[in-house]
Symmetry: D2
Subunit: 305 residues, 4 copies
Amino acid sequence: MNYQNVLEEVYEEVQDYLKKGKVANYIPALTQVDKNEFAMSVIDLEANEYNVGSFHKQFSIQSISKVFTFSLALQNYSKELYKRVGHEPSGDPFNSLVQLEYENGIPRNPFINAGAIVTTDSLLSIYKENTFDYILQFIQKITNDKTITYDNEIYTSELKHGYRNLALINMMKSFGNIENLTNSVIETYFKQCSITMSTNQLAKSMLFLANHGINPLKGDVLINEAKAKRINSLMLTCGHYDASGDFAYRVGLPGKSGVGGGIVAVVPKKLAICVYAPRLNKQGNSLAGTKALELFTTKTGLSIF
Amino acid sequence: MNYQNVLEEVYEEVQDYLKKGKVANYIPALTQVDKNEFAMSVIDLEANEYNVGSFHKQFSIQSISKVFTFSLALQNYSKELYKRVGHEPSGDPFNSLVQLEYENGIPRNPFINAGAIVTTDSLLSIYKENTFDYILQFIQKITNDKTITYDNEIYTSELKHGYRNLALINMMKSFGNIENLTNSVIETYFKQCSITMSTNQLAKSMLFLANHGINPLKGDVLINEAKAKRINSLMLTCGHYDASGDFAYRVGLPGKSGVGGGIVAVVPKKLAICVYAPRLNKQGNSLAGTKALELFTTKTGLSIF
Amino acid sequence: MNYQNVLEEVYEEVQDYLKKGKVANYIPALTQVDKNEFAMSVIDLEANEYNVGSFHKQFSIQSISKVFTFSLALQNYSKELYKRVGHEPSGDPFNSLVQLEYENGIPRNPFINAGAIVTTDSLLSIYKENTFDYILQFIQKITNDKTITYDNEIYTSELKHGYRNLALINMMKSFGNIENLTNSVIETYFKQCSITMSTNQLAKSMLFLANHGINPLKGDVLINEAKAKRINSLMLTCGHYDASGDFAYRVGLPGKSGVGGGIVAVVPKKLAICVYAPRLNKQGNSLAGTKALELFTTKTGLSIF
Amino acid sequence: MNYQNVLEEVYEEVQDYLKKGKVANYIPALTQVDKNEFAMSVIDLEANEYNVGSFHKQFSIQSISKVFTFSLALQNYSKELYKRVGHEPSGDPFNSLVQLEYENGIPRNPFINAGAIVTTDSLLSIYKENTFDYILQFIQKITNDKTITYDNEIYTSELKHGYRNLALINMMKSFGNIENLTNSVIETYFKQCSITMSTNQLAKSMLFLANHGINPLKGDVLINEAKAKRINSLMLTCGHYDASGDFAYRVGLPGKSGVGGGIVAVVPKKLAICVYAPRLNKQGNSLAGTKALELFTTKTGLSIF
């Protein structure tokens, strides 16, 4: 199927939404974007590409990086990791410490900050001082693009405002659920959040999850089918913090958002998709981006429900 | 596709699981079941039936009734109802009052007790003293089976032990989120929980949700496509209380469990399914039933992820 | 010591505070008061009386009744009651259900609503249908005044708006911590809240707590010294909901407030005191009343600290 | 009055309690004590001393240090500090982060860890790198004893196990309620907890609080009367974490415990008291120490209630 027309219709219909919502402002570096920008890319398992808007524009992937690190961790771990981070929706905001205190320092799922930090810590236990390089190489490999890197200004800015995440790390350390040095964990975590990519690159990077763990561009098995489905189900139930249920019924696809304004999603066995629009709704997800994905699944009937 | 062989394989492979877990015991009437019983039914959109075990055995549907009342409510309401009950996972057990107190008496979703009670209250505002009759008729209609009714012994037993649900109702009343008399609400709610059905009947009853709102047996539109997808997404994200994420990645289907030991699930555009095994796991969902569904989607590749 | 001059100074100095704050409005009957009224009474262990303002004006004692029922319960119970209601500050508002859910239906202390309801339930188990009569007789006895009774209009109004308290009762019933019928408990509880007294009567009624359990007017032992001190310590740590710490350091006396605008307090081994001013501060305690007591202990040096 | 006989009776009667409870074990250094040791000292405002047991034995004062730092802070601050730390019981354990998250990083009171850390931070803003020296000099001054210092082994041990407190600091930093560097705050806080004193020294150190802010040994005003009463009322309502209510009704005195096994208390206008017994009850307060204080006030009638 040719999705170009659909994307162009969507682009037109979201115009009114591009002016609503607010850009993330907890770090200054994130506010310096073109607030009304929009991009959307669809890539199917045969590598056909469909794009609209500024689809080569690089933006901060932020929490979308949690999907990459969790995938890389699942290359290395199974049950050992499931004991350290759960797979249930949290019912709380992305950075809540309440649940950690009541549940012995075990985060509810890998897509809230605490869970992503445990995931990164599990990678540090394997890759040591090369952990961030391995994370970056993993992303470059699944995207087939060696130019992908991180934005040092955003990284530095994150470090300066990272108290809440330091609280999460120390809380989990007090329960014995962080194995590496606080500084190594926080630095690696903030670097992965500061990676910049375009919607085109991000759509490519999600193809292996749409294809049950196999990179359709090269045919190599990245993770097994069961683990790929696990990640998809986690994106569906936990990918959008306390707006995950809302995203599930509006869009009907496994997806993950970042406060940089990006959202990735997959249609299992069919295609991967990414949208970018930096203004966020109240729950911290791209406002026009969510609308664009809702329009896309309504027009194509590709909701998994 | 012929699913009879798959069901028979599943039946054989769950034998070891039939002796694990505990039957619900909060009311005496629920303990009087054959603890090791098992049944499973699959019905596709062409009405082909596949069954194993005691698939005509009637059991208490309990929380599966929440799917029926929410569907009936969506025939009558849209946004008015969404204001009174949310669509996010709760992160708390099925009968928690904590979230209600913090969030002004608005339950997180229609599949926890508080949300199902608001749903029933919304039906009482329309159907008055005939509400339970309308609920029963709705179930009889979608199942094409006029014999379906409720078990008076279970109903009476529920009423005797209903203090937690009375607390939920009064709490929501204090926030103005219950419109009808406490007694009417609790009686109607407990009657719907006391309805008894077989796996064969329950699988039939879910076909309209597998078919985007249209009853495939008769062709009548029960709810529109958007609402059917909404219900499916809610079953996926919230159908199993604080084990919803677990069910999503193990089974990979929208589903709803009841403490009577039944679980229903749908494969959108393909089939509906029901399994029964009364012993429950720690989260209150059928232990062997969950395993049977996991085996079914693994063998058939029908997970939506 | 003659406290008349002190009371008159206080009366003058609180004038500016009498116009601040808001009268309780959760039931209409409580709003029908003279909003700017003020009264204050001090009675020492030798029965010397000092009064200012409208000190014979009857007002709704509301939560001050919790001190009477808990005292009466301690005539009958010791450890059996301490197992059903704790003695720690709750850290939550007066009508919170959260703590009950986390702590198995055992209220933190007898001066939050849930704890007072358990106390009343414990009296119902002894005095059955005569419970309210016994409560009233107890108050009449310690005050030496047979005219004291309850206000039926307030009682009826409470019953109409009692959903939150019904939620508390049902929640505790679900944990087995309420022994009597819901209706008996709620009716007795609301009747005790609807009792009306003047500051003069209330000051008299507290003398036995200032005197280690012995009514100084008649010499009869109402409760033993240890229990009297227990009640005083509970009034100090828990007598003003989530403003108890504030009252402790401002006033420095064991006390109990009611949303009707009254506050009672005792100076152990010296005197009892009551103040009335119906406008409340944000925590639901009499605004000018709290100020008047603060001025009284500052002027007399009678703070226990 | 001569309290020597009372102390000797108490010493005899607590013998059975000295073998109950468990020594604090969260840091190894605290476990290396004589588990069955006991000491108790009473000093009145005329400087008469009464002692039993090993009353010159130095032990880790731990949370008792919170009284000293809060007193020193009140020499320097009033309302500015009250905005940063409240004065209500928390209803939660000493190291809970839950309340901080819900209440914008403002600790409930200065005697839970978070509140004591804010207090120490407020001193760092004044005394900079000399803060700990000033804290130590303050204690030496009120005790009239220049030998008092801290235990470096305990300090080092605290630093190694300080993750929960680091979580508290970072959490409060994320709300802007910590002004100084994390390392300065945690080091100063742990040094103050590692100060060692005897019951005799600690009883002396509390005399100014029993005397409305004036050191009776020298006559100098340390803090004004209102602030001294404020500290006493805070010790009464919040001095023993979630067992404060229990201590209030058993002992009936403002007091503060430490996990090192010490408890200080004051009888306003009369005397100061300190008891030491390292085995703790479930709430983390000295088991035999609490009993000894209860016996003391029962025998002397010195309860403030």
